[in-house]
């Protein structure tokens, strides 16, 4: 390493993601990197008003209510979902800002040439 005359590789032209930015975005992707959580976000986003209650989400999967609650907590802790208690039921809503942050990640730092 550190051989100045070698230059085996192409230099970095653009501005790659910083280590700090990577550490911040990775948790969001990690929260979404699960089939169940992906479907949960999709179900909530496709619901009227961009929100859905846990009882309905629970019926959409062959999983225990405890497992669904856990996944919702992960998504909420990652800042992807908002939680609102209405009476006996709890409604989760998508946070468009968080999703657009992920979308911007692929638009800004990884531009497809053509």
């Amino acid at each position: 390493m550190s051989d100045p005359g070698l230059a085996c590789c192409t230099p970095l032209t653009g501005t790659p993601m910083s280590a700090n930015q990577a550490e911040q975005v990775a948790p969001l992707l990690k929260a979404l990197a699960d089939p169940v959580r992906l479907r949960l976000v999709s179900l909530i986003a496709a619901s009227a008003g961009g929100e859905a209650c846990v009882c309905d989400l629970n019926d959409a999967f062959d999983l225990t209510q405890a497992t669904i609650s856990h996944h919702l907590k992960v998504l909420h802790s990652a800042g992807l979902l908002d939680r609102e208690k209405r009476g006996v039921w709890v409604f989760y809503a998508v946070k468009p800002e968080a999703l657009s942050a992920v979308a911007n990640l692929f638009d800004t730092t990884m531009p497809v040439p053509a």
Copy 2:
């Protein structure tokens, strides 16, 4: 459950992601859901020609060469990176199709209202 008269929740208006689609997309997100791999993809995408050799990537991290090789293998196995051996060195290149597939995921199935 299965009480037909309850209707506690909002009905699903849009078309949520299918279980099959979620199972297909989740591995891509899981491959990207790591700070090191995120920076690897970013570094490669920011390099000239959208490709970079392992020796250069190895110098950008405080990790073992074996670890970097492992992460590159994960990204390659997920279909996000292309591998090309040139002489002694190995070059990895981003696959724009795979990245745009992820980008489409957030554009198509989760449209931000405004």
